[in-house]
Structure formats: C-alpha cells, structure tokens
Amino acid sequence: MSAVAAFFYLFSAVAVASAFMVVVSRNPVYSVLFLILAFVNAAGLFLLMGAEFLAMILVVVYVGAVAVLFLFVVMMLDVDFSELRQGFINYLPVGAMVGIALLVEIVLVVGTWTISPDLIRAPAPGAATAAAISNTEAIGQVLYTRYIYFFQAAGLILLVAMIGAIVLTLRERPGVKRQDIGAQVARTKATAMEVRKVASGAGLEG
C-alpha cells in the first residue's frame, strides 16, 4: 500500500469517526471540537487530491472562522441539548423514512452512473496542467475574468447579509456613555482646568 493510499484511509477514517462523534457526543463543546477535527481531515483529503488551495481555504475559513464562531455561540448561549433531544424518538420514524428514501435514491443514481469510455480514452484538457501552473494560480486567472459576474454577485449577497444583520439587531440604546474622541481632543487648558484660591484651613466645599 502506497503512502498516499495509507494517508487517504487515515484521513477518511478519522473524518468519518469525528463526524459521527459530532452527532453523538453529549457535551456540545466536544461536538464543535470534533467538527474542527473533521474539517482538518477533509482538508487533508483535498491535499491528497492536489487541491492545495481548497485545503488551505477550508482550514482558514471553516476552522479559523466558522468553527470558532460555533464555539463562541455554544459557550455563550445556554442551550440545553438534552431538552432538544427529547422529541428524538417521536421524530425517529419520519426521519428514518426520509433518510432511507434519500439513500435508496442515491444508490439508484450511483447504480446508473457510468463513465463514458470515450472520456477515459481522451481526458478533457483542463485549464492548465498541474506541472505548469499551481491550482491557486489557475483559480486566480479565471476568478476575476471568466467568473467576474459570479464573484461580484457573491459580493452583493454578502452586502445584503451585512445590511440585514445591522437592520435586525443594531439598537441605539439611550443613556449609554460613549467616548467622543472629537470632544476629548478639542479640550483646552481653559475648559479642563480651574485654578482656585483655597483659604488655609477651609475646604473647597466651603
């Protein structure tokens, strides 16, 4: 067994096992940590396929941002997960039915899926061969040219998400003292200091 195959089985086994643990572990914090483990192993699988850009993005975005956000939410919100699981048995038959239906569908689809022999004989030329150009560079070449429309559209969607988050959650709270840097900088000696003659033996309060 080659080293690549060995790593493939290692990464996949750990990914599947940790995905399973995400669902079954009792402590939600452990669930999130297992989720991070699953992401890291998926990144390893991408690396084995030669998609190093996707692997790094997966680590940066999912592990670095999304999973940490999950962790914050789980730790800060007091969610009672045992209560959430109470309806589990009631919903199990319906859920199992949907799951089995989807499984059967996937099996049927995979069963009919054949690779045309023409494709195997003459593989389609990719954007560039791996030897000449790294796939980060290949993505960079098309992202702002061929796919500029999708890129900009995704940007607008993120803008809507940002506006939406502000519209729905930002509240101006009255009576909160805020730092006003302009006012602080504009203070002069005259407004900030007061010199008084204090008679000896008498306090300021007179």
């Binding site: 049927l108 900009q152 803008l159 939406g164 519209v167």
Partner: protein, 479 residues
Amino acid sequence: MNAPFVMPALGPILPELVLAVGALVLVLIGALRGEKSYGLVNGLAFVVLALAAAALVAQPAGKVLVFGDSFSVDGFARIMKAIALLGSAVALVLSVDYLRRENLTRFEYPILIVLATLGMMMMISANDLIALYLGLELQSLAAYVIAAIHRDNVRSSEAGLKYFVLGALSSGMLLYGSSLVYGFAGTVSFPGIAAALQGQSSLGVILGLVFVSAGLAFKISAVPFHMWTPDVYEGAPTPVAAFFAAAPKVAAMAMTVRIFIVAFPGIVGDWRQIVVFISIASMALGAFAAIGQRNIKRLMAYSSIGHVGFALVGLAAGTAQGVNGVIVYMAIYVVMTLGTFAIILGMRRGDTYVETIDDLAGLSRSQPFMAYAFGAILFSLTGIPPLAGFFAKFYVFAAAIEAKLFALAVIGVVTSVVSAYYYLRIVKIMFFDEPAQSFSPLTPALKTVIAVSTIAIALFWLAPAPLVSAANAAARSLF
C-alpha cells in the same frame, strides 16, 4: 502566461449595473445621513428603479449572451424584468404611508427592495445553474430581512424566521438537485445541459430535476411547498406582503420557465408530470383552503397559491403558446395583486390597520370608490369576462388544450369556479351587509394605484394586443 482577457460588453447588463451601483450609493447616503434619511433614500430608490427601467427599454431587441454565456438578455428576460421592476416600484409606493404610520421609516427598507429587485433581474436572465442560484439567494436574503423589518413585532419576526429557515431548506434542495444535474450533464449551462442530454433522460438527471423543481416550487409558493406563504403574508407588514406577492413571484416564475424550457427541452414528457401535479395541487389548495379564511392577507396568500397553479398550466403545455400564456398571466396577476393590496392598505381607521374580511362590511355605502374598485378586481381575480383576469386564464387554458392536456384544463376551470365562492363572498359582504365602522379616507398614492389597476383591468379587453403580441415575441425568443 495569462489567458487573454476581453473586457465584457457592459451594455446588456446596464439595468443591473444601475441597480447595483445605485444600491451602493444609497447605502452610503443612508450611512452618512443616519436614520433621518428615509425620505431621501426612498425618493432616490425610485429614481434608481426608473433609471433601470429606462436602460431596460433602451436595450436593442435580439438575444445577447454575456459573461461566458451565463447571463442571457433576450425578449423573454426583458418583458419579465419590466414586470418585476413595475411590481417593485409600486410596492415601494404602497409602503411609504404605512411605514410612516407604523414608525418603521428605516432607510434600509428601500435599499433592500432595490437589492431584491437586482436579484430578481439576475434570476430572470440566469442562463446557468450558478447564476440562477446567486440571483435567487440575493433576492431571497433581502426578502427574509424585510419580512422581519418590524423587529419589535412578534409576528413579523416569526414571519422572517419561518421564511428564512424554510427558504434555506429549499435552497439546499435546489443545490442538491443542481449538483446531480451537473454530475450527469457535465455542465451547468442551460443550453449545455440540453445539448448533453440529447433528449435522453437518465435516472440521475430526473432525480436532480425533481430536487430542482422542489426548490423552484418553494420560491413560487406552489403546493406542496406552499406552507410558508400564509404565515409570512399574515405576519409581515402589509406593504412587504404586497411586495412578496408581486415582483418575486414573477421573477421566480420566469426562472422556472427558463430552466424547464431551455435546459430540459428534450425531456418535456418527464418534467410535464411534475408541473401538472404541482399545478393541479396548487389550484385545488388555493381554491379550497381560502374558503375558511377570515384574514384578508391570509386569503390573498391562498389566492396567490392558486394563481401560481393557473400560471403553471401554461408551462405544463411546454410550447411557445404556453409560455406566452404564462407571461400574460403574470403581467395581469401583478396588476390585480397590487390593486388588491392597495385596497388592503386602505383598510385603516385612524392609525390602526385592520385586516379581517368582516371589516369590509357595507363598504359600498361608506366608500363607494373603494368598494366598486375592489369589486372589479375580485371579479377579475375570479376570471369573469370581459375583465383582464379572464384573458389571463383564457391564454393558459387555450395553450393547455392545444397541447392536449384536457384534464388539466378542466380541473383548472373547476377550481376557478370554486374560487369564485370566496371572491364573491367578499363582494357580498361589501355590498349587502350592514355597514361596519367606516375607514379613514384613502391617501392619494393608494387612490392612484387602485384607480390605475382597476382601469387597466376593466379596459384590458379594448386593447389586449400590445401585451399579448409582446408576450408572444418574448415567448418565441426562448425556443
């Protein structure tokens, strides 16, 4: 080493560019001028929509594909975009007075409407699965936010949350279906999918098509993915419900028509069963479930489900004539819906808005203009000649009969008769019941919208040719 890059011609996407840049400018103005800028931003949003409409009208006829064929500008796209822009602009007109009274004058509202409209135009022009999904998400995300814009109101928040969760589920189904279609066709482009299938369907493609249809049916609120509609229409502020019922429906319907007709033309027999089922189920549910409703917004939600069913009759035909029927139907539907919601927004006593049907009792004596206009709109919604609603139904049923879908047409006519019961019941309540407390006078904006839509509905039979011939040319551009 770099691939040669040709600057894409931006002329074909000028209306979309106007909306996108306009929305960004409006965000800046709003952010700099603070909460008090609602009036200014709202006015400028009209200007942006009007400029986009002008750019749309100025486009030369003919079909142009840009951005590597993922954005298609053709006759069909132009007419549907015009209807969507009209729907958004009128929904914005209807909202002004309501938002001021309910103290919801936030400058983000018109901006989100503009961005949602941009999403709709992207959906309408989408010529591949990625462009379709991005347009759909842009429109839906803005819609989720404006459904919950009355954030201190429990029902508005509930409407937004429900819409968001179910919408996310349907997007997931759409994506799953798209991935299957991509896996089996090897391309995301609609004409590419059609070429790859060569009129042969395989199990995987059918399965993908089923999931894509489920996602699309959710967006046009067709049975069995309609459950969100009554709750969202009832919970969301009334002008928001008016917006949801008009423009996004048109865009989602246009997107549905384009994906079925352009991407799967060779396997009409396979998707026709799905469309026929959805259509019959929607018409039947729209007719029967609306009977028991007391809240007029809920009633309009069920009515809109039924109307989507009728429009799908045209799509089920799968012919240019059928698509022509769908375009005419959606255009007339938008006019009727906006008129109805203008009436609902006129149901106001002082500063309180009422929305039960019994509040309309004896309207003919207190406000004859409103009562007669609503009467005309309701007769048109039923489909009674010579009002516009009759022609809308006539064209889709004619296409269905031409395509030999007799059972579908008969069921459509029967459900249309059933729906007459609850439309005419409102007429009876308005004209023959003892008067309830009368409403406050209509604002000029509402009066104008009601008058224009009623006149358009009542006099459509005098000059149906411009709309019908434009729709005909548009429908042929897809084939």
